[in-house]
């Protein structure tokens, strides 16, 4: 039953990633694209965790942690650049 649930969740997250890519493509403003990238980061973390369960490895959480760190730093850097015109003042 877990295998069925993991397959369903992977499919649903793939659809969610397609929706995020749609918003990333048509976003009217830059902040929409930043928001789409942030959501894409969260959904890719979920996909990595799901593949970890499906392959029964237990070592991919480090990749998830790294993507979470880099995604947060990237989002803050992009919004900081929009707000102040510079990342590190």
């Amino acid at each position: 039953m877990i295998e069925w649930a993991v397959n369903l969740a992977i499919t649903v997250f793939a659809i969610a990633i397609l929706l995020n890519l749609y918003r990333l493509a048509i976003g009217p403003d830059i902040v929409d694209r930043i928001l789409a990238l942030d959501t894409l980061m969260i959904n890719s973390i979920a996909l990595i965790v799901l593949f970890d369960i499906r392959l029964s490895l237990g070592i991919l959480f480090e990749a998830a942690m790294l993507i979470a760190l880099m995604g947060f730093v990237g989002t803050v850097a992009m919004t900081k650049y929009l707000l102040r015109g510079d990342v590190i003042e």
Binding site: I2, V31, L35, I42, V49, I53
Partner: protein, 114 residues
């Protein structure tokens, strides 16, 4: 997948967590794709995706805790990190959108009847 050694109730709980997390994240992404302006779109992912990823990581924590024997806290670290950073990044994005003056079409103009 060594699912045969798991009790049925635990398997059911893990599957429910995984499917619930996936549905929450799908709802958040549909909100991101379909809502009308930026401040409405900010609601969907930052709430639903965090809740969805929380459910998913709780399911993963249960699975690996039972499979390895003993508590597996690695997923909990990712969960805590995301719960701390998601409001911060949402706040920064809202500030950037206010600063840029993005288009506020529809009900997010602070005048509900217009």
């Amino acid at each position: 997948m060594t699912a045969s050694s798991m009790p049925f109730v635990l398997e059911l709980v893990i599957s429910l967590f995984l499917v619930a997390g996936a549905l929450f994240a799908l709802i958040g992404s549909i909100g991101l794709a379909r809502l009308r302006d930026f401040f409405m779109r900010l609601h969907g992912p930052t709430k639903a995706s965090t809740l969805g990823l929380g459910c998913l990581l709780i399911g993963s924590l249960l699975y690996f805790s039972f499979q390895r024997g003993g508590l597996s806290v690695h997923e909990a670290i990712v969960t805590v990190f995301l719960f701390v950073t998601a409001p911060v990044s949402a706040h920064m994005m809202a500030k950037a959108a206010l600063f840029r003056g993005v288009d506020k079409g529809g009900p997010s103009r602070n005048y509900p009847d217009r």
